[in-house]
């Protein structure tokens, strides 16, 4: 185990119903770096984040976070560990009975003894960072999808975690906001040395800030490297994804039971 590996995934296999989502996957997330996970819709990127967060248990293999092997720690320890990890859910997942302000304040109220005026300042800062300071008194139901996701981002960074997992932060954002979010993720990573896992389909945005990229498809890592390495990779599969070509070895159609197994064999 190396000190600069924040997350280590070894021989991970995971099944849902009868479908093999991950098949013996190895993956390393470096401390203080932005690691992007890319891959076709439905390959299991969200599933991977949930496995790292300990919400799903691997069928086989091990996941280690900052030296804690998830299969060996107690429920209490797991919850303690999660206090140091922020996660931006794909759906936002804001608490629908709390205002925007209280949503962002929630982790602070739960895990710190900070007095109200300091929480006030901190929440305003976080909301300012995502450009939603003026929305603090709105309820989640009054937000647009993109706004909700930005509030969720502010909530995920509320406690200045050691690691943040972003599940598609750019989806549904206008070009300007996208640019701001890209800068914000980079800034958090640079200034606070936060380890970041970025799941995204936006090749350009992702390549502009990621230190390392994993491409996953059909239960396997089909390519990895720095953005420029992947961009210049001669493999058809990788080029197809990075350049968004409709035809190629990566199937666009959700596999039928039979062809799925064929596809798995094909890529082995």
């Amino acid at each position: 185990m190396f000190k600069d590996h924040f997350v280590e995934i070894r021989h991970l296999s995971f099944k849902r119903e009868d479908k093999l989502i991950f098949n013996d996957v190895d993956l390393t997330i470096n401390r203080g770096k932005i690691t992007a996970i890319m891959g076709p819709s439905g390959t299991g990127k969200t599933t991977l984040l949930k496995l790292i967060g300990g919400q799903l248990k691997p069928d086989q293999g091990e996941i280690t976070i900052d030296g804690n092997n998830l299969s060996n720690i107690s429920r209490t320890q797991l919850f303690k560990l999660r206090e140091r990890i922020g996660m931006l859910f794909q759906s936002g997942a804001l608490f629908s009975d709390l205002t925007v302000f209280e949503n962002v304040a929630f982790p602070m109220r739960e895990h710190t003894q900070l007095p109200n005026d300091i929480i006030n300042d901190l929440v305003s800062m976080k909301l300012q960072a995502v450009g939603l300071r003026g929305a603090k008194d709105l309820m989640p139901s009054e937000l647009s999808g993109g706004m909700a996701r930005r509030v969720a981002l502010a909530r995920a960074i509320a406690l200045d975690p050691d690691m943040i997992m972003y599940d598609e932060p750019f989806t549904g954002q206008d070009p300007i906001t996208k640019g701001v979010l890209v800068k914000l993720i980079k800034l958090l990573n640079d200034s606070l040395n936060i380890t970041s896992i970025l799941v995204s389909h936006d090749v350009q945005e992702t390549c502009s800030i990621a230190d390392f990229i994993y491409l996953i498809a059909n239960g396997k890592v089909i390519g990895s490297g720095t953005p420029s390495e992947l961009m210049n990779n001669p493999s058809l599969q990788i080029r197809q994804f990075m350049q968004g070509l409709p035809d190629g070895p990566v199937p666009f159609h959700y596999p039928t039971q039979q062809s799925y197994h064929e596809a798995m064999l094909h890529h082995e």
Binding site: G86, M87, F89, S91, S96, P107, H111, A152
Partner: protein
């Protein structure tokens, strides 16, 4: 023959699934109540939940109690006056409400009003990943969301039941004494002479404690165990009402047999 085997297999699967569900429900109960969150927070969470489950159920409880008491007053008077013993009306109203109708009807109403709302609320939190995101923030939803809802239900129903019974008896008094003219003195004194605290009032409270426990447990579990879709939530809500109503009536029979069976 084949068909029969298939049905048998289906039946076995159903039983396995039911047993598994009971296991999950027991686990939920233990995990959420084993470590109660720290005292400062649990009090404010509990107060909020007692408001949601208890105070908001007050109106339906008071109105139903009133009408049921009035109906018993009317029916009881018709029967008793046939024997010239309408002075026993107070006794009849008090006993039937304190022992049976109070705990049972209040619990059924509670299942429909508060239980279904609990299931839908928790199911919605699950479907929209609010529970998952809470977990990821290092806050255990079993303690933060489930535990206060369970405790609030345990506390609310017995209180609601007492209110139901008091209002019910008052409704019987309105009809019997005020409207039909039963002599007020004998109405109350017969009631006082025949109702025993330990036997009738206390056993009624025990029943409501048991019902409160069952209804809240079922409601919370159905929400937590629901499929994370809108159809899943609506199925879970239906199950809460059906299962808790059946459980209330079955438990009522068992408890009544244990409490008053040897008379």
């Amino acid at each position: 023959m084949n068909n029969f085997l298939m049905q048998l297999n289906q039946f076995r699967n159903n039983i396995t699934e039911s047993l598994a569900a009971i296991g999950r429900a027991a686990l939920l109960l233990i995990q959420s109540l084993w470590f109660i969150p720290d005292s400062k927070k649990i009090i404010s969470l509990l107060i909020k939940q007692i408001y949601q489950e208890g105070v908001l159920s007050l109106l339906i409880i008071v109105l139903s109690g009133l009408f049921i008491g009035m109906v018993i007053g009317l029916e009881g008077y018709n029967v008793l006056s046939g024997f010239g013993s309408e002075s026993a009306l107070g006794q009849m109203i008090a006993l039937s409400i304190l022992r049976e109708l109070g705990p049972v009807v209040a619990a059924l109403l509670f299942a429909g009003r508060a239980g279904s709302a609990l299931t839908a609320e928790i199911g919605h939190m699950k479907t929209t990943e609010q529970l998952a995101s809470m977990e990821m923030m290092g806050v255990d939803p079993l303690r933060r969301i489930i535990a206060p809802r369970l405790l609030a239900g345990f506390i609310s129903l017995p209180i609601l039941t007492m209110i139901f019974s008091v209002v019910g008896i008052w409704g019987g008094y309105l009809v019997g004494v005020r409207w039909l003219g039963v002599y007020e003195g004998s109405f109350w004194s017969n009631m006082q002479a025949s109702v025993e605290f330990g036997e009738d009032v206390f056993n009624g409270i025990i029943k409501s404690l048991v019902f409160g426990f069952i209804v809240t447990w079922i409601a919370v579990f159905q929400g937590y165990d629901s499929k994370p879709t809108s159809l899943g939530i609506s199925n879970a809500t239906t199950k809460t009402v059906v299962f808790s109503s059946l459980a209330i009536l079955a438990m009522d029979f068992i408890l009544t047999a244990l409490m008053f069976g040897d008379h």
